[in-house]
């Protein structure tokens, strides 16, 4: 056997230095694109906000736009509503998606197929269509109000144009990705482990807490960091469903850039948004690295 492997013209996994250039060449294109379209704009944005001419025209190190952001009540309100929306959405996503994924993982038959289709469906709905559907259903005098009214119940307090509008929209929009990631994590939980725990008398909650959750904690982290990254910089749903003020960072940046004609402050807002996102991004990178290290 050993002879046969040695005699093969080329081993399946080639680790000789000779073949490395091709591998590097293959990753060069994506790396170049990321460097050009992502890394460079970030560096340029940071440089442009900290190294620029001051009021007298002398170019130098200047943090005034950041000082303005962090001393401006209005900007801070927008930042805090963005954080609040993100955290609320993440918590709700976990609360909604974990039971769905557990159900899908541990049941068999046709019904789970339908549930899965329902859970994945939001992935195929563009957010602008979702927004208008939301207004028609949950908006004032919308479908829910009409249904409630027909059975003599009072109208709901509509979440349209309040901070809860974007929360509901964003949670719905992020269900598919979260469910899919959690499901893949649950695939790693062996049935034998659960059966063994049951054999020694663990109840359902104990199985969840001691057997399942520790095994999928990585997936939970990945799912949450994906959702959080998307939600933090969301634009369409907060723009169409949220209140005029405070606004989330996405619409705030776009408005500062286009309507207020203030690129400097818009870039500053973008750098600060990026700073928060990189923290969540690090969670994701750490968990991936952790996984590969195993």
């Amino acid at each position: 056997m050993i002879d046969a492997t040695d005699a093969a013209p080329r081993p399946l996994i080639d680790t000789t230095a000779r073949r490395r250039p091709i591998g590097l060449l293959l990753v060069a294109v994506p790396v170049f694109l990321v460097a050009w379209l992502v890394i460079w704009p970030i560096i340029s944005a940071i440089l442009r906000t900290v190294w620029r001419p001051d009021a007298n025209g002398t170019v130098g190190f200047n943090l005034s736009s950041y000082v303005f952001f962090f001393s401006d009540r209005y900007s801070l309100d927008n930042l805090s509503v963005t954080l609040w929306t993100t955290i609320t959405c993440a918590a709700l996503l976990l609360l909604i998606c974990l039971p769905i994924s557990l159900y899908l993982r541990f049941s068999k038959g046709r019904l789970p197929d339908y549930v899965q289709a329902m859970a994945i469906f939001p992935m195929f709905v563009p957010s602008i269509i979702l927004s208008y559907a939301f207004i028609r259903v949950l908006g004032p005098n919308g479908m829910v109000d009409i249904l409630l009214n027909s059975v003599g119940l009072p109208k709901i307090r509509t979440p349209y144009l309040t901070p809860w509008g974007p929360v509901i929209g964003l949670v719905w929009d992020n269900i598919p990705l979260t469910v899919l990631i959690l499901l893949s994590g649950l695939g790693n939980v062996a049935n034998q482990a659960i059966e063994a725990a049951r054999d020694v008398g663990a109840n359902k909650l104990q199985v969840l807490w001691h057997i399942i959750l520790p095994r999928i904690s990585n997936s939970v982290l990945v799912a949450l960091s994906f959702a959080v990254l998307g939600i933090f910089s969301a634009f369409t749903l907060p723009y169409l469903l949220g209140p005029a003020s405070p606004e989330m960072m996405g619409p705030f940046m776009q408005r500062t850039f286009r309507e207020v004609n203030d690129p400097l402050n818009a870039i500053t807002q973008a750098v600060i948004t990026f700073g928060f996102c990189i923290v969540f991004g690090l969670f994701y990178v750490r968990s991936v690295a952790h996984n590969q290290g195993k």
Binding site: G142, T158, L161, P243, A244, S245
Partner: protein, 382 residues
């Protein structure tokens, strides 16, 4: 067909499409460009073009969508370049343009002086709308107040700013306007408040008189007016995110009144989005701001004379009436030259004055100031 033949044929067809399309300004074909929305292009395709071509045998219209304002300006620059080299600009008529853009077009002799061109209908043009001798205001749009006549009788509809404020306060939650940067209906409502706070004098604001000091002084007073009515607005101070969303709230019976663009609301009524009995009213102490669309004729175009015929044609009673009934816009001619029947039908929205508000630095100041001072003023958590 065999697969290979099909591929060959498809490739040839695609290649033919990619060949540069050569075109020359043809005698008798007016090259027409617009920067307006698709509803305007539809209006020209379905109404103006057939009528004009029927009235002028031998002349056809080539309608081209230039995309946006910058697109029309680029064609204008091409016309200047063509003038310098004595070549064909391949353009005869701009449906919408600014005679001052691209700068130098008038001096270069590229835009026709419409006042001197001897149009038979030029004297009918609403003098309030004329901005330049080189452009022809032929349609307008203005912000009006639309209201649900089932909840508010026409006789009780507010006709002045003070009445409006009193009505808003007496009927909390029944009025909504959109964020000023997200659509002109709310934007011009906010500008009307600025006019109100500064002596009802639109002339006080010009495109180049913005200074931080004057801006702060003038706008702060307006923010006070708007903050004052905020708690009585829809949902205790919520602002819709666009023109359409305001109309949607009106259509769903959530609010009784909202500022709307004249053309959008007439179209919404026409399409059944809003009921036919939707009431429209304009403030009489000073109307809400609006604007006119101005057409331009290219002096060095191959079909300059035909284009002038077209300019005269769009001022005719037929087309001006169609602008009202089909487009939902305002006529560019004075109301005396609109048929009596239409004048009667649209009596409530006839603008006595057409105030406008300058853009430039004012836009940025208004967009920023409103968000900082008006939008967050109310504690909506309760």
């Amino acid at each position: 067909m065999k697969r290979r033949d099909f591929m060959l044929a498809a490739g040839t067809a695609a290649g033919a499409l990619m060949l540069p399309r050569m075109s020359f300004g043809a005698e008798g074909t007016i090259d027409w460009y617009t920067s307006s929305d698709s509803n305007i292009l539809d209006f020209w395709t379905n109404t103006v073009k057939p009528a004009f071509e029927a009235a002028n045998p031998g002349i056809t219209l080539n309608l081209v969508d230039a995309g946006d304002g910058a697109g029309v300006i680029a064609i204008g620059e091409r016309a200047i370049a063509a003038k310098q080299t004595n070549t064909d600009p391949q353009a005869d008529f701009f449906e919408s343009g600014d005679a001052l853009l691209p700068s130098g077009a008038i001096e270069a002799g590229v835009y026709t002086n419409i006042k001197e061109a001897g149009l038979s209908n030029y004297s009918k043009v609403n003098p309030l709308a004329i901005q330049s001798d080189y452009s022809l205001p032929y349609r307008g749009s203005q912000v009006l107040l639309a209201y649900d006549s089932a909840k508010l009788a026409a006789a009780d509809a507010p006709k002045t700013w003070d009445d409006l404020v009193a009505w808003i306060k007496a009927n909390p939650g029944q009025f909504v306007y959109n964020r000023p940067d997200k659509g002109g209906s709310g934007g011009n409502f906010v500008r009307r408040a600025i006019h109100q706070a500064n002596g009802l004098d639109p002339a006080a604001f010009t495109v180049d008189n913005y200074t931080e000091e004057f801006g702060n002084e003038a706008l702060t007073k307006a923010w006070a007016l708007l903050s004052d009515i905020a708690p009585s607005l829809y949902d205790g101070g919520a602002y819709s995110s666009g023109n359409t969303q305001s109309i949607q709230l009106l259509a769903q019976g959530v609010v009784t009144m909202a500022p709307v663009w004249s053309d959008q609301v007439l179209q919404a009524i026409d399409q059944g989005v809003l009921p036919a009995e939707t009431g429209l009213v304009q403030l009489t102490d000073l109307a809400l701001a609006g604007g006119f669309t101005r057409s331009i004729v290219i002096e060095n175009g191959t079909n300059r004379d035909a284009a002038l015929k077209l300019a005269d044609f769009i001022l005719s009673e037929e087309i001006q009436g169609a602008i009202l009934t089909e487009l939902g816009g305002f006529p560019g001619v004075s109301w005396d030259y609109v048929s009596a029947e239409l004048r009667e039908r649209f009596a409530d929205i006839v603008p006595l004055t057409i105030p406008t508000f300058p853009g430039g630095a004012w836009d940025a100041a208004i967009n920023d100031g409103w968000y900082r001072n008006v939008a967050p003023n109310v504690d909506r958590a309760s």
